[in-house]
C-alpha cells in the first residue's frame, strides 16, 4: 500500500492499549506495569480520504451499536528485528504516521466482560485509517513532543501531546520485539489519549499530529 509517497507492505499491526494516563482514567482501567498490546489485521487499513465503513451487523443491533474513534501516533518498522534493545530502537524505525484505531466499543466491552478475545471489535474492514504520509525519523527529532488531536465534524474531541505517553517508543519496541519478529512495513500504534467518543454514519473525522499532517475520513453505512 502507498502512504503518501512511501510504499509499505505491512504483515501485521500491533496496537498499544492504555498508554496515555488521561485515557486510562476515563476508561477506569488500572495503570499497566508493562505495555499492553493487541493485533489488528491488515484488512482494517484504509488510506487518507477513504471511507470508514460502519458495519451493518453493528448498526442493526442495539447491543453493539457504538463505534469509537481513537487517534494514535504510529511508527513503521524499517528492518527485520527481534529482541531489540531500547537504546537501538530508532535504528529499526522508518518513520511516523497517524493511525486511527476504530473500535466497536459496546462489542469490545461485552466480549471482555465474559472473558472473550476482543479481536472482532477492532478488526472490521476500514477500522484502521492511516496516513497521510510517513515522516522519517530524521524529520521528527523527538516523537514524544507532538500535539495530537481529533475532530469530529470540526469539533475537537481529542487533544493531547505525545509527551503524555506512559511507555515511550524505545520501550515499546524493546518489549514487543521480545514476543514477535517485526518485519519492514509492520505498523505499531502507540495508544490513544483521552476524549474517545462515538462516531456515526455521515460524520467527518480529521485526525492530526504535529509535523505529520491530517487524515480525513467520512463514515458511511455498509450497504448489503
Amino acid at each position: 500500500m502507498k502512504i503518501g509517497k512511501t510504499n509499505i507492505n505491512p504483515t501485521k499491526i500491533i496496537c498499544l492499549g492504555r498508554n496515555y494516563l488521561d485515557h486510562i482514567k476515563e476508561t477506569n482501567s488500572p495503570i499497566p506495569t508493562e505495555p499492553v498490546f493487541f493485533a489488528k489485521t491488515v484488512n482494517t487499513l484504509v488510506t487518507n480520504g477513504g471511507n470508514i465503513i460502519y458495519p451493518n451487523v453493528l448498526s442493526s443491533n442495539k447491543d453493539y451499536n457504538k463505534v469509537d474513534h481513537e487517534v494514535e501516533l504510529a511508527f513503521i518498522i524499517f528492518q527485520t528485528c527481534k529482541n531489540v534493545s531500547a537504546k537501538r530502537a530508532y535504528d529499526y524505525i522508518r518513520g511516523y504516521t497517524i493511525f486511527l484505531d476504530i473500535t466497536a466499543r459496546s462489542m469490545q466491552k461485552s466480549d471482555r466482560m465474559i472473558n472473550l478475545p476482543w479481536y472482532r471489535s477492532k478488526n472490521f474492514d476500514t477500522f484502521g485509517p492511516i496516513g497521510p504520509r510517513i515522516v522519517p525519523c530524521s524529520e521528527i527529532a523527538d516523537p514524544h513532543n507532538l500535539n495530537i488531536q481529533l475532530k469530529v465534524n470540526e469539533n475537537i474531541k481529542q487533544f493531547s501531546n505525545t509527551k503524555h505517553m506512559l511507555f515511550k517508543i524505545p520501550e515499546i519496541l524493546e518489549y514487543i520485539s521480545k514476543y514477535v519478529t517485526l518485519v519492514p512495513g509492520d505498523i505499531v500504534a502507540t495508544g490513544t489519549p483521552s476524549g474517545i467518543g462515538s462516531i456515526l454514519p455521515g460524520d467527518i473525522l480529521e485526525a492530526s499530529i504535529e509535523k505529520i499532517g491530517t487524515i480525513t475520513h467520512k463514515v458511511i453505512l455498509e450497504e448489503i
Binding site: V42, N43, P55, R112, P117, N123, T181
Partner: protein, 226 residues
C-alpha cells in the same frame, strides 16, 4: 510460503476458540452461542519439521512458564470474499491442512483474568506450525469426518474427530466474513479438541489429521539457537 506443493501468501490467521465440546468441558468455559475467534500474526508460521522455539523469558519465569499444544484442522481461503452465505462457503475454500495453535497458557490465563487482550500468549514466533500439505476441497470430501490426533514423544495426547466441531466450516465462513474481508491464502484454524497439555524443550510433537498426514515439530529452547 510453500506448504507441500502449494504456495500461499496469507495476510492473516484467524483461530476459532472453544469449538469442540470435549475441549470446552476441560477448560470449564461456557458453550459459545456464536463462534469465538482471535488472530495470530504471520511471524508465528513455521512448516513441517521446523523447530518450535520455546521463549527463554517464559522458561525462566515460573509464573508464566507453561506452553501448550493444540492440534486443529485449518482451511485456506481461495479468493477474496466478504459476507459469504453458508451454501457458498466451500466455493471460497482452497483446501485443508493441519495447524498447531501453540499457546503460552499461564500467560493467557493471567491476561484473561486481568481483562487484557490475550494476543501476546498466542503470537510468539514459531507458535503456529502448519502443514505438511494442503489437501484441496475435492480431495478431502467431507471435512467433518476426519480423525484428528496429537502425540508428544510418541504418546497420544489428543484424539478426536472433526465431526465433533461445534460450529462447522460453512458456519465459520459465514460468521467470520460478516466481520471482515478474507483474502486468498488466509488461514482459518477451526479449534482444538480435548486433551491439551504442556510441551517442553526437547519434545517431539506429531499432529495428524486423517487424509492430510502428519505435521512434526521439535521444541527447542530459544538460547540453543545461538
Amino acid at each position: 510460503m510453500k506448504i507441500g506443493e502449494i504456495t500461499i501468501n496469507p495476510t492473516k490467521i484467524i483461530c476459532v476458540g472453544t469449538n469442540y465440546m470435549d475441549h470446552i468441558e476441560e477448560t470449564k468455559l461456557d458453550v459459545p452461542k456464536e463462534p469465538v475467534f482471535f488472530p495470530k500474526t504471520l511471524n508465528c508460521l513455521i512448516k513441517d519439521k521446523e523447530p518450535i522455539i520455546y521463549p527463554t523469558f517464559l522458561y525462566n519465569n515460573p509464573k508464566i512458564n507453561r506452553i501448550d499444544y493444540e492440534v486443529e484442522l485449518a482451511f485456506i481461503i481461495k479468493d477474496t470474499c466478504k459476507n459469504v452465505s453458508l451454501n457458498k462457503a466451500y466455493e471460497h475454500i482452497l483446501g485443508y491442512t493441519i495447524f498447531n495453535d501453540i499457546t503460552a497458557r499461564k500467560m493467557q490465563i493471567k491476561d484473561i483474568l486481568s481483562k487484557l487482550p490475550w494476543f501476546r500468549s498466542k503470537s510468539f514466533d514459531t507458535f503456529a506450525p502448519i502443514g505438511p500439505r494442503i489437501l484441496t476441497h475435492p480431495e478431502i470430501g467431507d471435512p467433518h469426518n476426519l480423525k484428528i490426533k496429537l502425540k508428544v514423544n510418541g504418546n497420544l495426547k489428543q484424539n478426536s474427530n472433526t465431526k465433533n466441531l461445534l460450529f462447522k466450516v460453512p458456519d465459520l465462513m459465514e460468521y467470520i466474513t460478516k466481520f471482515f474481508t478474507m483474502e486468498a491464502g488466509d488461514i482459518i484454524a477451526t479449534g482444538t479438541p480435548g486433551g491439551i497439555g504442556p510441551i517442553k524443550p526437547g519434545d517431539l510433537i506429531e499432529a495428524s489429521i486423517e487424509k492430510i498426514g502428519t505435521l512434526t515439530n521439535e521444541v527447542i529452547l530459544e538460547k540453543e539457537l545461538n
